[in-house]
Amino acid sequence: MPQYFPPNANAFARWTVYGGILFVVLLAVSLTVFARTTNNRVRVPVEQPIAFQHSLHAGELGIDCRYCHSSVEVAAAANIPPTETCMTCHSQIRVGTPQLAGVYASWENEMPIRWNRVHDLADFVYFNHSAHIGSGVGCSSCHGRVDQMDGIWKAEEMSMGWCLECHRAPEKFLRPRSEVFNLAYEPPADQLALGHELVETYHINTEKLPQCSTCHR
């Protein structure tokens, strides 16, 4: 059998293999980076059909988060308020203004307002608002100062690595239950001492917290 390749083809083949391995490594790294950043439009305002201002309602007027997101303490989801909630006040206030046209159209036609989604976790993540609130995780720990936002955007990247920062060391972030809805809350200087105490008081199972099945089922 004649030789098809000259001897220096061996070197070429060898380098192809090295290049291949390098390619696989780079691919793995870039896919990981992609998976962690994709769809994480942090601090990018999400356009909405109605220019609702949290900064006015939750900030200036000081309305509690739960006035509209009333299911947040008892359900997995913090509900988007139905049009009825808007109408509690806007049946009387700023009636007929163009900014609120969408609200009145929704009320009269009995069609829900189509808000654009701000946070969309992967469907295999089972996040529960009530569990976090009951454990002393403040609204602003994940959602930032919503009371200062003119529009609405994601304040944190909400990636798995970000979740684990707290799931691995909840004592760094917990606050007393009475402060959960206080968006202006500042952690005390001795946060770790307080955090360890709260982990005890709220019966937080730190061993189970970072495990896969806590969030994925």
Binding site: V17, L27, R66, S70, E84, C89, R114
Partner: protein, 203 residues
Amino acid sequence: MRRERSTTWRNIASSCGIIFLTLALSACGRNMFDQPKAELYEASPYFSDGSSARPLVEGTVSRQRGSIDATYVSGQDENGLLSELPIPVSLGLLQRGQERYNIYCSPCHNYSGDGQGMIVQRGFPSPTSFHDQRLRDATVGYFYNAMTNGFGRMLSYASRIPPEDRWAIAAYIRALQLSQYATLEDVPEDIRLELLQSQGAIR
């Protein structure tokens, strides 16, 4: 010897190539991220309102705690609106009522119940003060009924406040009414002195 070595390398190279092709051709689907199930608020083309969430069927009976007791849920019995709370009053109940009142009622009724809350300051017609004689004489069921069915310009809060919390709020409104007409004799003796001192500090 040399021949064998180059065959080995070639085998490795071709296996790597196959692995690449598999990776490249399989592509990365995101179908696990967005599974074919209706998540909360997900749009659905199947229903005329475009929402996957369906309203309750008419005549649906809630299995929520206490909902079997018609008097407890409606706030009325055969004699009309209840004049007594259907649940025992405790400090816990009043504290719960205070918290819920501050969330849902204070925007209009104000923290003190005088009807001059923030939303009223921004143009909502002022509700009657809870310290008005008419409301001081009203039964506790009257407040429960207003929260459940709405009253005047106030829409119903039944979808936001469950019955047990409505009773807690009704109890707290009673406490607010007491607070505005309280005398020093109503204060327990052991904290009377403290109160006087704190008032002295203000003056």
